[in-house]
Amino acid sequence: MTAPARTTVPAARGPMAEAWDIFRRSPSAMLGLALLILVMGMTFAGPHLYQVDPFEIVWAPLTPPGEEATIPLGTDNLGRDILAGLIAGGRATLAVGFAAAAITMLIGVLIGAYAGFYGGIVDDMLMRVTEFFQVLPPLLFAMVVVTLFQPTLVNVALAIGIVSWPQTARLTRSEFRRIRTLEYVSAMRAIGAGDGNIIWRVILPNALPPLIVSATLTIGMAILFEAGLSFLGLSDPNVMSWGLMIGSGREYLLDAWWVVTLPGAMIFLTVLGVSLVGDGLNDAFNPRMRER
């Protein structure tokens, strides 16, 4: 007795799997992903592999990299281990970057969704608020907020979130305006779905692709922001961060290039990774736009 012959049917592929396929084939997107994995690995596994306190004075100040075998990347102006600083500094930078991006997306999507969905006077009011936040010079406003209140990591993330959401709100709004006129939304309405249901369970999932891309770029921007604030010495002074390392080492940069160059390179590589991944996602979600 033989089993009935089976024809192989290709598995139905969702849009996400398709997007991942496109993403995977882009060398620059994969390079970005590799960079991010590297930075994350260094930040999370690093402290276990290289157990040096970033605030501890370990050797003579301004020892160049490679001079002492135990301190591969040299020391800063106080004699603290640079490598330990690079490992520890990633944690604050990434945490603030991600938290700020989350706050940005939360406010931006909420405001953009209501403005785009309801239109009319709701839209007008919300867009006026958005425009108000858009004329505030972002870094200056964040500087003021962080100094008036305490420069804790939470406040830094909040300050960055408060100045960054208008762009997300505008993007969300335009997506919602486009999608709300589509037939499947009318169909949902016809079967009696409530506004909340339509906004969050019907339109939002369909508006996600551009929002995911924008979230990625927001993370990159938030990391740069955090770096700028801590470079100016306006972040939490008790938490090591890449920007703080640059800020405290800048007076010595003509004698000791490594003190500012190395932490800056870490910021650069991290944001580069984020933006390459963002570009890759953009191509993956909009295959038609790839020539741009």
């Binding site: 010079p137 870094l139 910021i267």
Partner: protein
Amino acid sequence: MFRRILRQLLYAAALILAVLVLNFLLIQLAPGDPAEVIAGEMGGASAEVMAAIRQQYGLDKPLLTQLGLYLGRALQGDLGMSYFYNRPVVDLILSRLGPTMLLVATALGFALIVGTRLGMLASRNPRGIASALVTVLSLVGYSAPVFWTGLMLVILFGATIPLFPIAGMIDVVKQGGLLSRVLDIAHHLVLPALTLGLVYLAQYSRLTRASMLEVLGADYIRTARAKGVSERQVFGRHAFRNALLPVVTVAGMQFGAIISGAVLVETVFSWPGLGTLAFQSILARDYPTVLGILFFSTLIVIIANLLTDFVSRLLDPRLAGGR
């Protein structure tokens, strides 16, 4: 036309008022006694100064009265006193406005001129060298922290190739006539303007390339070519002018970000503008000055937005009619 301009001016005025209210709220929301916040947490404010502040700001009166007093004085051009510099905030800011505007305008001009040209060059051949340069430049420009780029230039030009001064705006030792003073400032301007400009050069070149590629596919370009218009004319006049529009819009919308960038760049190069003033007054907890700078920068952004709108309408007659 006039009605639209009037409406926009009214709207701008409302925004300015809103920024003032925000400033007022920030002082109120900050932890601690508002009088101490205004005097700065130097600990040195005498009892008379504190009493004077209380009386001037009406701090013993209800909140709305305080707001009214604050707005009334602000609209008369009185943003309070800097107790750190012992000068009216407005004077202090006006004395620093020039260098910042010089820096921002130079950086923006450089970025716009070089960036759009580069983007146009890249659009001629999407796989050519110029295009690759635009791609690399835009990635680096986006990813490198602007203050770090500045510090790298300081290392390069301060130690390796001492061609340009790395700090300040004027050489105190140099004496001479007007021309030599102008040249001296221009010489000091090179590195800060380059640092700030590179970020936007990267963005504008990428944007120009994208918008050129889009415009070049349009029907009117095909028509122009079919009529026998030379390639140079097609690129330079027909396509470029239309492709410029999104760049101008973005450049205008980004003014706030550019001012923010200037804060960092000024700090790196000790450029004596609003940015260094903001930084120093934040360190000194001189809040009237800090809030005054926030207000002035916002004012600049609002004016820049109005101008951008105006220029876009000049560039694109389609916008001039409706909306």
